[in-house]
Symmetry: C2
Subunit: 492 residues, 2 copies
């Protein structure tokens, strides 16, 4: 709290790292690459969870829970998936510790408690789930299966950053099974649409829905759909993915079903997920040099009251006026806090709630009591105004909606201003360094070209937008013919 | 579905195992000792979670999330705690798989990817959390810390049973830090009270609040409080525990705070948890030979409508009548399902919903349409009655409350009839085998006597009830003087 945040213009990455810690969202733990999600950060994640869970249920999905561990033999069954995750897996090899005979009071792994088969801590659950679905699916009557799981997963990343890339993270993973290819494809697209809806209408983060190039596809998928967001520093962030898995997992785990017509066919699959990475997207879309900026939908505290007083008597008379206002707001569904801690001064509280992104701050002093007003400050624009106490509830309710809308609008304008059509590779490279953002350019469709561009510029194909226009052109790198532009960007 | 359940009187344990699987609650997975919680079972668990979470927040707690892994050096810091869990820990030793050169398409643990320090998959989180609290607590102003975490934990149990004892299970663990001993003690007792309230008023499971003997205490606790329930087979089940941890973890992790008076003191701690084990308690408290019996509070479906019809025309006219009833019930907050699947006959549906414990079943046939009635069957008593359609909503709402109350009353009568005062060891042994239940007997207070009784009879001291009367007597085993009775039972 004491020291100011690094400015975004000085060092965006440092600003982010400081903000996450100072706003009490998360911190690094004693375990390499694993974070502690602090209560304030977790309460924002809970709001995301609740809304997503509601949307999943509304689209016909139920929750279930599958084991944390995947036996190695199951893990390796779908080869592409296994290959994609093998290099970053935490492996359980033993099931017991014993006293270390050489070091008093210390423990050691008991060599006699070695597992017959090693267990992989799930990096994703397709393998264990499809091994289970095998027993659940016999006939077309058993389909579709529409399940979701809220869980922790582990991917042993070498370079980690709070929320954006951590060895352990929290996520939800949907896993569905279908009788037909088209039904599975519809499901994958539907859930990508649910993610886009959630990002835009709940988190106020504009996203582009698209499909990934083969290089960027989920290991084991036939097609990966995604929502791509743009951060303030011009880098893209993949905020969610939805995979059409074809029959790959059904074949790996031999999951067939009797069709209505009496045939026997492999089942079609999808999987889709978003994670605590969304917290990173939230922070980097809206926040400023004063700290976090939260869309009202996600703010644990939407309105904070701060009394301005000298001595107990003044605090008492302010409390008498603020009390009913707090109650009235609570009763109309607003999340409100009265910060009457006497251990901190108003200035300190102003900074703290600004840092934590509380959408509306209301200061009430002796003069306000006289005049029947309050001073209301909005976090998104950092503006202040005096309003009559009698209009408080209606003003606050309207303002919360306005802030939510304004944040989306602001982010959308920024994003739209950072999609640039480029037709020359030199300009492409220059723009990547100067302006950043999404570069809309023709591509010859080959993984080789994509690889070379990535190697030379660090830009990857973020997606081919779902609503892409077909347009003849020539690849920005190879000059070969192309039928559409794709979106390149440097990415988190 | 096809085969009937084993009767409880024939083989209680077999009945339980069959019921869990047949009612679609959970099943064993490919991972030794780990279960899959199926959608129906999980939706019951979700209801428990939601209510507990509400109660925790109402008592001032927030949620947070701490890492899945505990570095071995932290794990061993609190020696008693470490000793208590060392023998049943899953240990991560490596962070990468690689292609097995000897077996095409197979993977092996990469010996070059050995961790410098092994990681214990959390069996409980005191160690990792107190290592974190060390950085959060400097002064009395930082206290109390009142956190809870919903998480998965792993204890490598040798003999596992669905919900009751699994290698991985889901739970919540509260971890609080306090400035004074009395405040921590109050918190431990308060949360034990919250558990009792939840068990009795939400799950309809009567429990005895008590304190554990030293032998049965949580490893690392100074005092363990618990709620103990009684299952239909006369065995006790520990349904939740709340621990006063003293300053043990503060000392192990050197967590001191500056007092208001300028001193420096170790912090006082509690932890408390309930787990998916509660699902086992739920099943074994209320269910019968026909299947699951669910208290309305926990039933994913509280009311199911089953149409009795021949041909599409009849179904249509029934649907026309049932539709508005379903809507009316939904609008008044009842969870209702219209089972109009045409792939199954009514008899099959009756059995299925009975097996799954739906509290109220409503059958509607052509005669009901004529008469303006429905046939309403209640799951707890297996009784049926006809009621006018016009009174449906009020009848159903009253009946759901009555079923909830009746289940609690029935369980309480059973439990109370199975607390037996015993003053002779022979009678004690005899009653354990014949009647079971809680045996209220004098004990000399020594761990040695407790151990011997356990060895000879398999009965353990479940708890010393919190509201115990002081009463002079002599130990049922040693004959030594005793000041109070304690509750013995065989237990899950």
């Amino acid at each position: 709290m004491a020291k100011k945040l690094t400015k975004r213009s000085e060092d965006y990455s440092k600003w982010y790292n400081e903000l996450v810690v100072k706003a009490d969202l998360a911190e690094n733990s004693a375990v390499r690459g694993c974070m502690v999600i602090k209560p304030y950060g977790f309460s924002i994640w809970e709001k995301m969870q609740a809304e997503l869970d509601r949307m999943f249920k509304e689209t016909g999905h139920s929750n279930a829970y599958f084991p944390l561990f995947v036996p190695k033999s199951l893990f390796e069954a779908e080869e592409k998936n296994a290959e994609g995750f093998a290099k970053e897996c935490a492996i359980v090899t033993h099931y017991r510790l014993k006293n270390d005979p050489d070091r008093e009071g210390k423990l050691m792994v008991d060599p006699n408690a070695k597992l017959e088969e090693e267990l992989v801590v799930r990096p994703t659950s397709e393998a264990i789930i499809w091994n289970t679905y095998k027993n659940w699916i016999q006939s077309y009557r058993d389909l579709p299966i529409l399940l979701n799981q809220w869980a922790n997963v582990v991917r042993w990343e070498m370079r980690t950053r709070l929320f954006l890339r951590t060895a352990e993270f929290l996520w939800q993973e949907g896993h569905t099974a279908h009788a037909t290819q088209s039904e599975a494809m519809e499901e994958a697209l539907r859930m990508n649409g649910v993610y886009a809806d959630f990002a835009e209408n709940f988190m106020a983060i504009p996203v582009i829905q698209g499909v990934k190039s083969a290089n960027e596809r989920f290991a084991g998928a036939e097609e990966t759909f995604c929502i791509e967001a743009l951060m303030q520093d011009g880098k893209a962030l993949q905020a969610g993915t939805s995979h059409f898995l074809g029959q790959n997992f059904a074949k790996a785990f031999d999951v067939k079903f009797a069709t209505k017509e009496g045939g026997l066919e492999y089942v079609w699959a999808t999987s889709w997920g978003v994670s605590t990475r969304l917290m990173g997207a939230l922070i980097m879309t809206h926040s400023d040099d004063n700290g976090l900026v939260l869309p009202p939908n996600l703010a644990p505290v939407q309105v904070v009251f701060i009394p301005i007083y000298r001595g107990e008597e003044e605090l008492k008379s302010i409390t008498k006026v603020v009390g009913p206002m707090v109650e009235a707001l609570k009763n109309s569904g607003v999340r409100v806090q009265f910060d009457d801690r006497d251990t901190y001064k108003p200035g300190y509280k102003f900074n703290e709630h600004e840092l934590k992104g509380v959408p509306i701050r209301i200061a009430v002093g002796p003069k306000d009591i006289e005049k029947g007003t309050v001073e209301l400050a909005r976090r998104d624009l950092l503006t202040k105004e005096y309003i009559p106490q009698s209009e408080l509830v209606s003003t606050v309710k309207a303002l919360l909606e306005e802030i939510q809308t304004n944040l989306m609008k602001r982010a959308q304008e920024f994003r739209d201003a950072h999609i640039t059509k480029v037709d020359a590779y030199d300009e492409f490279k220059e723009l990547l360094e100067s302006k950043g953002g999404f570069l809309s350019a023709h591509w010859d469709g080959t993984p080789e070209t994509e690889e070379r561009i990535k190697k030379e510029t660090k830009a990857t194909i973020r997606c081919i937008p779902l609503d892409n226009q077909q347009e003849l052109g020539s690849c920005i790198y190879s000059g070969k013919p192309s039928t559409q532009r794709v979106l390149f960007a440097k990415a988190y």
